[in-house]
Amino acid sequence: MSEATFRGGVHPYEGKELSKDLPIKTVMPKGELVFSMAQHIGAPAKPIVQKGDKVLVGQKIGEAGGFISANICSSVSGTVKAVEPRMMLNGSNVMCVVIENDGKYTGIEGLGKDRDYTKLSNDEIREIVKEAGIVGMGGAGFPTNVKLTPKDPDKIDYILVNGAECEPYLTSDYRQMLECPEEIVGGLKVILKLFDKAKGYICIEDNKPDAIAKMKEVVRGESRIEVKALKTKYPQGGERTLISAATGRKIYSAKLPADAGCIVDNIATVIAIYRAVCKSTPLITRVMTLTGDAFKTPVNVNVRLGASHAELVEEGGGFSREPAKIISGGPMMGFAMFDLNVPITKTSSSLLALTKDEVAENEPSPCIRCGRCVNACPGNLVPQKMAQAAMNNDYDAFVKLNGMECYECGSCTFVCPAKRPLTQTFKQARQYVMAQRRKK
C-alpha cells in the first residue's frame, strides 16, 4: 500500500522520543479545581450549581448554553467554593465553577456502570454523548454530539479516527493507542452504529509503527474498520489534510467534513465516546504529555479536568533547566502560557516546556521570496503575497489571495528562512476579516 499523504507540509523535529515510551500515569489533583464554562467552540455553558452546593464525580455543573455548546461535569467530589470569572490560558476571564476537592471521589449514581451500546437507539447514544459533555479533544473543542448529528446521516461514508498526532512532542494519543486500543475500537464501533453505511478508518502516521501494529491487531475481524498508515508529515492530522490523505476527498473552509461524507474524531474523543456510552462516565479526565527539554522527567499523565497546570510541573519531576517558554499543546499550533495557574480543559493536550525560545532567538529579516512558504502550505496558498497584503492592511487583497482558506497550521512560518511572522500576520488578518463579516 502506497502511503497516503498530501501536498505541502513540513518536517519539524519530532521530539517524541522524550515521552513516547513512558506509560500513562494517573495523577490526582490537590486543592481546588476550576471548571471553565467555555472549554469548547460555541456558546459557553451555564453554571447550574451555586456556592456551597455539594457535588459528586460526574455530576453536571454546567449546562450547554445553546445548540453548539457542551455540558461541563465535575471531575471530583466536594463543595462548590465559588462561581466566578477566572483567568484562562489566553488571559481572558471566563465564568468558572470552582470546586474544593474533598478527596473522596464519590461518584454520582451509576457512574462507571457497564452499558451495552447495541441495545441503545441512535438518539439515545447521541443524547449520552451530549450529556457527557464530549467535545473534540484534538484542540478545536467542537461539540461531538453536533458532529455526530449531520443533516443526512446516510451520506456519511467514512468515520476517520485521527491518530496522526502530527504535532511534535505530543505522545498522548500514541500512548492511548498502545494502552487502550480496545476502547478506541469500542468508541469507533459506537459511532459506526450511528452510521450504518460508513466505514471506520483509524489513521496513524507511520512514525508510530507499533501503534499501527497494535491497532491492526485489535481490529482484526472487524469488517467495517481499517487501519490506515499515513506518511509522517506535519500537518497530517489537520482535518482537511487527513480527509484528503485517507479518502482522496477534499474540503475547503466553507465545507464541513460531513459535506465530503466524513466525520473526523480524535483518538481521545473516540475513547471519551466509548467511556460515556459503554462505561457511563462523562468526560472528566484526559491524557496529557508533559514534555520538553526543561522537564526533568517527561511523562504522559491521565489528569482530572479542572486541575491546575501548575500542579503538573512536579509530575514531570520539576524543571531541571529554566524553561524559556511553556506551551499548552504542540509547538506548531499550541498556545504559549504566561502563567501556569490556569486550569486544564478538555482540549489541553500537553504541557511543553522548552529551554530555548526559537521565536525570540530569530530576528525577522526581509523576505527573499524563496517560495518555501508556497511549497510548505498544505492549503496551496501563497503565504508570501498574503503576508504582504495583510501587512499593508489590504484585506480585500488578502481575501482575494484566498487568505481565509488558511487554517494557521504554521508550516509557512516554520520553513521561512527570513524568520518572518507569517502565521501571526494571518491570524490577525483573518480575525479582522471575520469580525468585518459579522458586522454585515
Binding site: R7, K250, A254, K325, G371, N380, L381
Partner: protein, 330 residues
C-alpha cells in the same frame, strides 16, 4: 515560577535554514564554475572575482551605514551578487570598470529599490547590461589561451548556414584560427565570460542546488527545453543535434538558467508562474540569439522577464486546496 514566561503566537519552532545559509549554499554551488574560470583564464579572473565580491560587500556596508540601516553584509547576498557579476565578465575586462559595475549593482539595482528582496531586476544582470551598453567593446572582447577571438556562439551565428557546425567550429573565426568543437564547449575550453564557459562545472553546482532544494527544477528545465525547441524550429538548420548542443552549451545559457533566472527575488513565487517564466525566457533568448544582432541573449531575456514577474504572479495564484473546479469560491 518567579519570572514571567515568554509568550508569542504559534508556531513556536523554526527550521534551521536562514537567508544566510541559502546565500552561502549558492556561493558554494558557484565554486566549480569559478574555479574552472580561474584555471581557464588565469590570475586575471581571480582578481576580477575578488574585486567584484569585495566591492559589492563594501558598497552594501557603506550604503547601510550611511542610511543608518541594519548592516546585513554577512548574509552573503552582496557577495553573491559580486560573484555572479564577475562570472559574467570577460577575463580581460578592466578592473575599474568591474568595480563600477559592482557599485551600480548594489546601489542602483538593489538598494535604491529597497534592498534585499525588493529589487525587481537581478542586480548582477542589471549591472552586466549597464556595463554592456557603457563599455560594449571591452565587454565583448574574449581571450582564450592568450588569443583574442570570437566566441563559438558568434562563430556559429556568422557561419555559413550550409556548412556543418563541426566544420564551422573547427575553422574558428577565420582570423585567429581558434579551432574548437562541442566537446570543448561542454567542458569549457573555449572563450567566453569567466563563469559561463564550462557547462559541466555549472551543472555540478546546479545539481548541488537542486539536491539541497535551494532551487526548483521548473524555471531552468522550462527555460532550456523551450529554448531548445525554439532553436530547432527557427534556427534555420533543421533538426541538427550538433547545432542544438552548441547553442545549449555556448554563451550564458546554462549559467543564466540555473543561477540567474532562479534568483528568488526576481522570479515568480507561484509554481505555474515559474513555468510561464521559464517558457518566456526560452522564447526571448531564442529570438535574441537567432534574430538579434548579437549571438548572446540570455541577460536581456532574464532582465526583461524579471519585469513581468508581478504580472505573471498575478495570473498564476494557485487554486486553494479543496477548491479545484469550484468557481467564485462560493
Amino acid at each position: 515560577m518567579s519570572n514571567l514566561l515568554n509568550i508569542s503566537s504559534s508556531p513556536h519552532v523554526r527550521d534551521n535554514s536562514s537567508t544566510k545559509s541559502i546565500m552561502w549554499c549558492v556561493i558554494i554551488a558557484l565554486v566549480p564554475a569559478s574555479a574552472f574560470g580561474i584555471v581557464n583564464f588565469g590570475f586575471k579572473a581571480l582578481i576580477l572575482i575578488a574585486a567584484c565580491v569585495a566591492t559589492c560587500m563594501l558598497t552594501e556596508f557603506v550604503w547601510q551605514k550611511a542610511m543608518k540601516l541594519p548592516i546585513t553584509v554577512n548574509d552573503g547576498s552582496a557577495a553573491l551578487t559580486g560573484l555572479l557579476l564577475a562570472l559574467n565578465l570577460s577575463s580581460t575586462f578592466p578592473v575599474w570598470m568591474a568595480v563600477l559595475g559592482s557599485v551600480f549593482a548594489i546601489i542602483v539595482v538593489k538598494q535604491l529599490f529597497g534592498g534585499l528582496g525588493q529589487n525587481f531586476m537581478n542586480p548582477a544582470l542589471g549591472a552586466r547590461c549597464f556595463l554592456m551598453v557603457s563599455f560594449a567593446g571591452k565587454m565583448t572582447s574574449f581571450t582564450y589561451d592568450g588569443v583574442t577571438g570570437a566566441t563559438p556562439l558568434a562563430i556559429i551565428k556568422n557561419g555559413d548556414k550550409a556548412a556543418s557546425i563541426a566544420d564551422i567550429l573547427a575553422a574558428g573565426d577565420g582570423q585567429t584560427q581558434v579551432s574548437t568543437n562541442v566537446i570543448n564547449m561542454f567542458i569549457g575550453n573555449i572563450g567566453g565570460t569567466i563563469g559561463e564557459t564550462s557547462v559541466i562545472a555549472i551543472l555540478i553546482g546546479a545539481a548541488y542546488l537542486l539536491v539541497k532544494k535551494i532551487i526548483d527544477w521548473k524555471i531552468p528545465v522550462c527555460y532550456i527545453c523551450t529554448f531548445a525547441i525554439f532553436v530547432l524550429l527557427f534556427g534555420g538548420r533543421g533538426f541538427d543535434i550538433t547545432y542544438l548542443v552548441a547553442e545549449l552549451c555556448g554563451g550564458g545559457l546554462m549559467l543564466g538558467a540555473f543561477f540567474m533566472a532562479t534568483d528568488y527575488v526576481t522570479s515568480p513565487i507561484t509554481p505555474n508562474g515559474q513555468i510561464i517564466f521559464g517558457v518566456a525566457l526560452g522564447v526571448l533568448t531564442g529570438i535574441f540569439r537567432i534574430f538579434g544582432a548579437s549571438a548572446e541573449g540570455v541577460s536581456y531575456a532574464i532582465i526583461i522577464c524579471n519585469l513581468f514577474v508581478p504580472l505573471i504572479e498575478k495570473i498564476t495564484i494557485p487554486v486553494p486546496f479543496g477548491k479545484e473546479g469550484i468557481k467564485d469560491g462560493k
